[in-house]
């Protein structure tokens, strides 16, 4: 059937854009954390430029998906896939925003000796780069089991974040002169924690796409 072929082609174009979007978000996160580690303001500024590309991709993907719904009237799994496309694009866009927040924190923190907790933050960012890649792949392969595995990484992210919070609070008690900078880093860790939640949302959407039921992968 001609229309079915057209639908599949359009869908694969869409998925290609989702892959591109995921790659950009991962790249933005890597640059942001690298900028923070190296106190590289220029690199941090590049993250903001990447975010514009990410935002544009989101709008393009959502427009394409809306046109497909209007013109092809998909049902069942086809419809669930398109509903999932919106969720994936939306959560990737929010993840991109958090990378920007992290880059802004890097700019603010540059110029003074770095906290040792930045290394811990880098470790979380590494976990999350894996989550971004894993979540997008789970979506593209429509693999619910892979989605569950990726979402499980978020537990590690959360406990790392809690450790950082505890350490920074201690530091603030000991060094009141560092409260402002430590607070910035605390918030940066919070952005990373939220980024992990967005990847978990994508994983939940993938399970919904594959199995047709809503699940909570991270309580």
């Amino acid at each position: 059937m001609q229309t079915r072929i057209h639908f599949i082609e359009e869908l694969s174009r869409l998925n290609h854009d989702i892959l591109a979007m995921g790659t950009r978000v991962e790249e933005a996160l890597r640059r942001a954390i690298e900028a923070m580690k190296a106190q590289n303001v220029e690199l941090a500024s590049e993250v903001k430029a990447t975010d514009e590309v990410i935002n544009a991709l989101q709008l393009k993907i959502e427009d394409q998906a809306a046109v497909l719904i209007a013109t092809q009237q998909p049902v069942a799994r086809d419809l669930r896939e398109l509903v999932t496309v919106f969720k994936v694009a939306d959560n990737l866009e929010r993840a991109g925003d958090h990378a920007v927040h992290l880059a802004k924190a890097a700019i603010k923190l540059a110029g003074e000796p770095p906290f040792r907790q930045v290394e811990r933050l880098a470790a979380i960012a590494e976990l999350e780069c894996g989550m971004i890649r894993g979540a997008v792949e789970a979506y593209l392969n429509q693999d619910a089991e892979a989605a569950r595995r990726v979402a499980a990484i978020d537990d590690e992210v959360d406990s790392e974040h809690k450790l950082i919070v505890r350490e920074l609070l201690e530091l603030m008690r000991e060094r009141p002169d560092q409260v402002e900078r430590a607070t910035r880093l605390l918030r940066a860790s919070g952005y990373l924690e939220r980024l992990g939640d967005h990847m978990t949302n994508i994983c939940e959407a993938v399970v919904f796409l594959v199995e047709g039921k809503h699940v909570e992968l991270n309580d």
Partner: protein, 263 residues
């Protein structure tokens, strides 16, 4: 068979293990389902899948065809329709609207009055005539047609548009004061605006009637029905809430059909 989960009122029809043969050809295979009262049930499936045959079982229209053999149980309001039942009374209770509007070559009024007259409604006294006029008008109002024809009630029904003719046929069925409306692709010959009018009408009618509709238009099944049954090769593959069928069908054959992968 999946759980038929009756979504709304009590069962109007209960069908169990229904088999039907046209001569040597088996057209329905072990069909079991329940039709809830005051609901709209849509039957979908490719041509020749048995959905129209099933519809015609419900008012025993297949009795008119030679060589038909039926086994299994079909209960209407708890009574076996193949048991000790007056078929004329059964068909009065269970009205049928067909694919192509088929108004009689007479006035709009007489089309609607035809059923009540055949069923013995007298018009000898002024009071009886007034009752008939009221019945005809009420039926036309309920078929969402009255406003469009009130000034031409005594002109030929053949001058109406296709969509108006189909609503006239619905009014004609309603005038007999049935309990169930069976519809065999009632909008497939109509334009989108007439189709939308009939779909809106169905939603209003289900408050008072139980409706079973055969349709080739899957979007229509999705829009109007509460429950959907998918037939394939005489088998009822899946019968579930319309929401379930169109969003998360359990059977791969249903998924393939409604997604246009075959058929």
């Amino acid at each position: 068979m999946a759980d038929t989960g009756i979504p709304l009122g009590p069962a109007k029809f209960e069908v169990e293990g229904l088999d039907l043969w046209y001569g040597q050809t088996q057209a329905l295979k072990k069909v079991s389902l329940k039709v809830a009262a005051n609901s709209i049930t849509a039957l979908i499936g490719p041509s020749g899948c048995g959905k129209s045959t099933f519809l015609r079982v419900l008012d025993r229209m297949n009795d008119l065809i030679d060589n038909v053999r039926i086994e299994g149980l079909v209960k209407y309001e708890g009574d076996d329709i193949f048991g000790d039942v007056d078929v004329i009374e059964l068909r009065k209770k269970i009205g049928m609207v067909f694919q192509k509007p088929n108004p009689f070559p007479m006035s709009v009024f007489d089309n609607v009055a035809y059923g009540p007259r055949v069923h013995g409604l007298h018009t000898r006294s002024a009071a009886e005539r007034r009752a008939l006029v009221e019945l005809v008008e009420r039926s036309l109002v309920n078929a969402a047609l009255f406003d469009e024809v009130k000034d031409r009630l005594h002109k030929s029904a053949l001058g109406l548009s296709g969509g108006q003719q189909q609503r006239l046929c619905i009014a004609r069925v309603l005038a007999v004061e049935p309990d169930v409306l069976l519809m065999d692709e009632p909008t497939s010959a109509l334009d989108p605006i007439s189709t939308a009018k009939i779909e809106t009408l169905l939603d209003e009618l289900k408050v008072r009637y139980t409706i079973v509709i055969v349709t080739h238009n899957m979007q229509q099944a999705g829009r109007v029905s509460d429950t959907t049954g998918f037939f394939l090769h005489g088998e009822l593959v899946e019968f579930a809430s319309t929401k379930e069928i169109f969003f998360n069908p359990k059977d791969e054959r249903t998924e393939n059909y409604i997604s246009g992968r075959f058929g």
